[in-house]
Amino acid sequence: MFRNQYDTDVTTWSPTGRLFQVEYAMEAVKQGSAAIGLRSRSHVVLASVNKAQSELSSHQRKIFKVDDHIGVAIAGLTADGRVLSRYMRSESINHSFTYESPLPVGRLVVRLADKAQVCTQRSWKRPYGVGLLVGGLDESGAHLYYNCPSGNYFEYQAFAIGSRSQAAKTYLERRFESFNESSREDLIKDAILAIRETLQGETLKSSLCTVSVLGVDEPFHFLDQESIQKVIDTFEKVPEEEEDGGEAEAEAAAAPTEQGGAGDQDVAPMEM
């Protein structure tokens, strides 16, 4: 995208009918570290890559609990994401207070989208620079939505946003048809495998990712490091153990972790 004379203001249209400021905001989402969401009929898993500013600092929190039945993963300007998470928590708790009942995620997402739209139509505002993957439950089961800075929202079976998310999306595209009937464990495994795609060769460790689950009989919560590592261990072999040969879990032997180091975003991920 190149600079042009129509991109100074969010209230200026380009002759081709585009709002460049909004599109630039969507670029900001692509700069953030990856966040992934997938859902089955009864569960939603949100996962993110833990990126830290430096070795000295802690990593940024990208997944937030909105309510027992709603969670959100963000990518982009995390400050904007925090503010929107606070808005979502507020809406959710106000609804619970008045109706003693959980706010259906579909309705929350529409309010969020309308809030984002306002910022695309006021000269004194700027669009939120954050993409949100909202996972939650309502009467019809589990849902996953993606909210865009443009004010649009879409429902997904699975989605990935942020940097190197294309690799994860490709992985998900090949598997998504089975997700609806997936068990909770398989869904978590797929989420972690999708995260691995975005790492482009770095060894997958539980300290590198955050995983959260929510489901019909399971309130939103984060998986602890141990549980994540256990899932990783079922498909990652530590390089020294290569000689032990094929274990029962024939999937993904050590070789793939070395191949992935190509670093090229368009390399097709290896068969699982």
């Binding site: 207070f97 008045t98 109706y99 003693e100 579909g106 309705r107 309502d138 009467e139």
Partner: protein, 254 residues
């Protein structure tokens, strides 16, 4: 300080000067102090398939039984039934609030809908908030419904007290009907048995509550929906010996 004395809402404020007294009188015209046209008891029970709610069709103007065709039980949305005793105009106002609520809920058009639990809690919030402003909606409301197989029955009073139970009653019903229900209610009542039980309660109320009239409706709500019966009357028996010559023991009295 809020005090309900002999059915009248009294607010204790001490006017500092005459200006305040005038302000008080004006302020009083902005809030409900006492009810004018009132409905008497509602009696409701859970039964095997849902909820049954009975009320008579009377609207009293003080001690005068002025209106005899008031429907005090109404359907709310797809899943709920609301019955009210107390000020009829406030009941109508509540129906307007709920109409708006249900309309907005339908406008979402998204497969989610307000169930009886949500409506009950919404009403509790409304009643309690009005009470806090010293301007209550002078009703005791009964909210019953069925959604996704769950049968719900609850009550909210004019001061915002709210709770759920297997059987509820308002006003005189609390004193005359509930003891009967405590003895005879069962979870697996059939529709016919439920109606019989309610009629037993309503008959007692008819005999003993002077604001009751012999024209009642029974409403039923199940997973399938709401049905409100046509108005009908109960058979009563006045040939008890005690009524034949009531002044036998005290000549000259009536």
């Amino acid at each position: 300080m809020l005090l309900i004395l002999w059915g009248v809402l009294i607010q204790f404020t001490i006017p500092i000067d005459n200006g305040d007294a005038l302000k008080n009188a004006e302020a009083d015209s902005q809030r409900t102090l006492y009810p004018y046209v009132t409905g008497t008891s509602i009696v409701a029970i859970k039964y095997k398939d849902g909820v049954l709610m009975a009320s008579d069709m009377g609207g009293s103007y003080g001690s005068t039984l002025r209106y005899k065709n008031i429907e005090r039980v109404k359907a709310i949305g797809k899943h709920s039934l609301l019955g009210a005793s107390g000020e009829i105009s406030d009941f109508q106002e509540i129906l307007r609030y709920l109409d708006e609520l249900v309309l907005n809920d339908n406008m979402w058009d998204d497969g989610n809908s307000l169930g009886p639990k949500e409506v009950h809690n919404y009403l509790t919030r409304v009643m309690y908030n009005r009470r806090n402003k010293f301007n209550p909606l002078w009703n005791t409301l009964v909210l019953g419904g069925v959604k996704n197989g769950e049968i719900y029955l609850g009550m909210v009073s004019m001061i915002g007290v709210s709770f759920e139970d297997n059987h509820v009653a308002t006003g005189f019903g609390n004193h005359l009907a509930r003891p009967i229900l405590r003895d005879e209610w069962r979870a697996d009542l059939s529709f016919e048995d439920g109606v019989k039980l309610l009629e037993k309660c309503m008959r007692v109320l008819l005999y003993r509550d002077r604001s009751a009239i012999n024209k009642l409706q029974i409403a039923k709500i199940t997973e399938e929906g709401v049905t409100v019966s046509q108005p009908y009357s109960l058979k009563t028996f006045w040939e008890f010996q005690a009524f034949h010559n009531p002044t036998a023991g005290a000549q000259g009295s009536w």
